[in-house]
Amino acid sequence: MFDNLSEKLDGALHKLKGHGQITEINIAETLKEVRRALLDADVNYKIAKEFTNNVKEKALGQDVLNSLKPGQLMVKLVKDELTQLMGGDAVGINLSGTPSVILMSGLQGSGKTTFSGKLANFLKNKKTKNPLLVACDVYRPAAIDQLHVLGEQLNIDVYSDKGNSDAVAIAKAGVAHAKANGHNVVIVDTAGRLGIDEQMMNEIGNIHAAIAPSETLFVVDSMTGQDAVNTAKAFNDVLDFDGVILTKLDGDTRGGAALSIKSVVDKPIKFIGTGEKMEAIDVFYPERMADRILGMGDVVSLVERA
């Protein structure tokens, strides 16, 4: 389905050959292909437009034009720009506070519960922490059981209160339980919710206010399309979250949502989920993501051919 961008660019760049310099006219075709690739990768419509305009400005204004082939320059420009937009310096997870409190948030089915387990496991094994998982999803059938099953698999304690339908109270009690039992990290799993669901957004706002997390994470499915910007914005407006988790990257999605979200809320992407198993967690590499969005498995070979 997705034609590789490098193939398309190859075609478009072919026309640039022999020009030696980028002009408004000969770059148009290439930019169209870049924009098309971004849209195919689910980068938000407006952001894709802005992006190609920025790249154009940079390309036209460059002095180094004559010393490089235009094709090479374009590939490098696009990739660098993408990488830079998604990256910045790697930001770790903030584990201040005793205990450090981490709040999970996101849409239904994005992977919050699974990631809560993965993160707890990661902190236990890699940072020798003693985490507690807290089950605040009082809505979804068997959501609490799900967290308990993960806790058992990982040998990590889970706090829940099955009869209680007050998620804010459970979150508070969870943090208190952690303090009383010597846990130095608390990970609070919450129910999935829509950004436009006022009542549910109020609930998570109240949880946030009640437990004052050192780290609030927004979990997003990497297969998300154009709506990623709306959702990220809605959650950020209420929670002012600290970082983004991109899940299900073990699939073949191009993951343009990563760029959209980063552009719209300017929060770092901290971890990625790469499978259903508890070990399938990785840090985020902007450059790899840039390649992925562009569908350029092999940028080097493209540059060589250009």
């Binding site: 389905m1 997705f2 098309r36 849209l39 195919d40 990768a41 689910d42 938000n44 419509y45 849409l107 239904q108 089915g109 994005s110 992977g111 519960t113 809505y139 979804r140 059938p141 068997a142 959501a143 059981d145 799900q146 967290l147 308990h148 099953v149 993960l150 698999q153 829509l194 950004g195 436009i196 499915d221 297969m223 998300t224 399309g225 154009q226 709506d227 990623a228 709306n230 959702t231 299900k248 073990d250 699939g251 073949d252 999605t253 191009r254 343009g256 949502a257 259903e276």
Partner: protein, 297 residues
């Protein structure tokens, strides 16, 4: 409502008195469609069709353009969505009628099954659920909660058991109970995982030992907020299980689910249901005109 009027008023200004749709209109249309996840290919297809019709029919006013627009987009769905079904209905010549529900992780399979079971039960049908997601933590408990809510029997084994064996048991139990409908839940799986996709083919084969032409419906559930990756999902699930219908979930959110237009068009699979919430009643029979209209809201 606000953006709807603004789109159509922009539209009317840009086309007033013209016999050709100009670039501004097309740009606006492109934006609406692409931001609804319709995708570039399908968007171009729609735009081409509109240009054709306008040059042929000598378009006059906004009303006509609006109508043409709705028609052309809906036409992409029409091949496969002929009937204007408003009821949850299934063929009565198969007993039990076997449905298998498939899709990638977290799209809403289990929830959709609960909602479907509720609708069928309401019609007085005998429904049996099969908990063939034996992999995800507490997936069986989740389906059990739904079965209890609806008041239908569920067939299950322990976590980690063979999904094909659960499906087989479910059919066997359904036959002995003289049930009308069987709905099999399966574990979420990404379509690029060959082993997991093969497992689905196996579940199918094993069910055929009891009911030769089962499953009668393979329902692929797509998350309405999914972007262009849904194409690959449709392609790979069709390859492994011959998908016969689609459900689009989570349309109560701000995502438009436009990607199903291209999918329905390309794979000739009808969209049957849409999910519009987490509650038991939050499933609707798909209506293509309402769906298309939602892009312009």
């Amino acid at each position: 409502e606000k953006s709807k009027t603004s789109f159509f008023s922009k539209l009317s200004k840009a086309v007033a008195g013209k016999s050709k749709v100009d670039d501004e209109v097309l740009d606006n249309l492109e934006e609406v469609l692409v931001t609804s996840d319709v995708g570039v290919d399908t968007t171009l297809k729609v735009i081409e069709r509109i240009e054709d019709r306008v040059s042929r029919d000598k378009y006059l006013g906004t009303d006509e353009l609006n109508k043409i627009l709705r028609e052309e987009i809906a036409n992409l769905l029409s091949e496969t969505n002929k009937g204007v079904a408003t009821e949850f209905s299934i063929p009565t010549d198969k007993k039990p009628y076997v449905m298998m529900v498939v899709g990638v992780n977290g799209v809403g399979k289990t929830t959709t099954i609960g909602k479907l079971a509720y609708q069928f039960k309401k019609q007085g049908k005998k429904v049996v659920l099969g908990a063939a997601d034996t992999f995800r933590a507490a997936a069986i408990d989740q389906l059990q909660v739904w079965a209890d809510r609806v008041g239908v029997p569920i067939v299950k084994q322990d976590m980690g058991s063979d999904p094909a064996s659960v499906a087989y048991d479910t059919l066997k139990s359904a036959i002995s109970k003289d049930a009308d409908i069987v709905i099999i839940d399966t574990a979420g799986r990404l379509h690029n995982k060959v082993n997991l996709m093969n497992e689905l083919s196996k579940v199918k084969r094993v069910m055929q030992k009891l009911v030769g032409d089962a499953p009668h419906d393979v329902l692929l559930v797509l998350d309405g907020s999914t972007g262009q990756n849904a194409f690959e999902q449709a392609k790979q699930f069709t390859k492994a299980t011959e998908v016969t219908s689609l459900a689009v979930t989570k349309l109560d959110g701000t995502a438009k689910g436009g990607v199903v237009i291209g999918i329905s068009d390309q794979f000739q699979i009808p969209v049957k249901y849409i999910g519009v919430g987490e509650g038991i009643e939050d499933l609707q029979v798909f209506n293509k005109y309402e769906f298309v209209d939602s892009f312009f809201k």
